[in-house]
């Protein structure tokens, strides 16, 4: 490459001194984020392992507990998160082609959708709290103590146990449910914080076609959180549903 061809890319103010050029810097940043995401995959993987182990050990109890979750809110939240992943991807796209206004709009939409997800999740948590399904004694003075529905009783606030299910094993499901969705929600909160950071610097005009690694890398993180939910939704809400209606 001639000196003239690389001059622009060498003199960008965001280029750190230990990188040759912007392209190398961007590649290194993406790679580093992927290495971090691998550790995140292993972190969530441990919880998915615990889930798989207990679900295969207590199938009837886990199906009963699954069936108590609100499938409508779960499905809406899945849609909300997919939508937010789409707006995030579009934000990266608009940065790459240098269109600042739609890029900022997409970031704002992504944040709003992320907060919508958390709001719906809070409504679900509240319903579980009211049905006394928060496991152990996590809530002071309100330990895990669901009311069990009698045969043929239709009260949706009571726990409907399938044959072979026990309340103690249902509590295990709710430990896993709150650990996994809670960890996921914490990642969403951190993600919303990172997106706010991106928004501030996008408004200041820091990102463009030559320099957009932060948008790209935080986008990767956001899509990862979406992927975790893509697995959590069917595993926690859907499996066992056919026993109810079959």
């Amino acid at each position: 490459m001639s000196h003239a061809a690389t001059e622009g890319i060498h003199s960008h103010p965001a280029l750190q001194h230990h990188f040759e050029n912007m392209e190398q810097q961007r590649e290194a940043g993406t790679l580093g984020m992927w290495v971090f995401l691998v550790t995140e995959i292993m972190f969530f993987g441990g919880m998915f392992l615990a889930y798989t182990l207990y679900r295969s050990t207590y199938p009837a109890s886990f199906a009963s507990a699954s069936n108590h979750l609100d499938i409508t809110l779960g499905a809406i939240n899945t849609g909300v998160l997919i939508m937010s992943s789409f707006t995030m991807a579009m934000s990266v796209y608009f940065t790459q082609i240098g269109k600042s206004r739609p890029q900022i709009l997409c970031l704002v939409l992504t944040i709003i959708l992320g907060l919508t997800f958390l709001g719906i999740k809070a409504v679900e948590y509240r319903a579980k709290y009211e049905d006394r399904l928060v496991p152990g004694s996590l809530i002071p003075n309100a330990p895990f103590h669901p009311e069990v529905a009698r045969e043929g009783e239709a009260d949706p606030h009571k726990l409907h146990l399938l044959p072979g299910a026990t309340v103690k094993q249902v509590e295990m499901f709710y430990w896993i449910y709150f650990a996994m969705t809670g960890m996921h929600a914490l990642h969403m909160i951190i993600g919303a914080g990172l997106l706010t950071f991106l928004l501030i610097f996008s408004i200041k005009g820091r990102y463009g076609p030559e320099y957009h690694s932060p948008v790209e890398v935080i986008g990767l993180y956001w899509h990862f959180v979406d992927i975790v939910w893509i697995f959590l939704f069917p595993l926690l809400y859907l499996l066992g549903r056919h026993f109810e209606h079959g």
């Binding site: 030559e210 595993l235 859907l238």
Partner: protein, 106 residues
Amino acid sequence: MSEHIVPVRVYVTIFLVLIVGTLLTVLAAFHDFSYRFGDHELPVNTVIALVIAVTKATFVVLYFMHVRYSSRLVWVIVTSALFWMAIMFALTFADYWTRGWLPVGY
């Protein structure tokens, strides 16, 4: 710049695929697909749910996360995550599934 810019059309397509996948997985969950094979009740519902989830995740990784257009090194790192997950599951279940294969006292 050698960076690949994914066209909007691709993003919209992937978005629609993900929404359709979500609808399919909800619909499939209410139908009992379980199938008896000899003494075993095959968990077909679980398989369907997981196939749809893996497909959705693959689309997100390849297109939203640009892995399809990324360097070989990124591919290696992504694959390594699957590899280590496989080790974690395989070794753990090698223990749990085989418990009780030998009578107590051995």
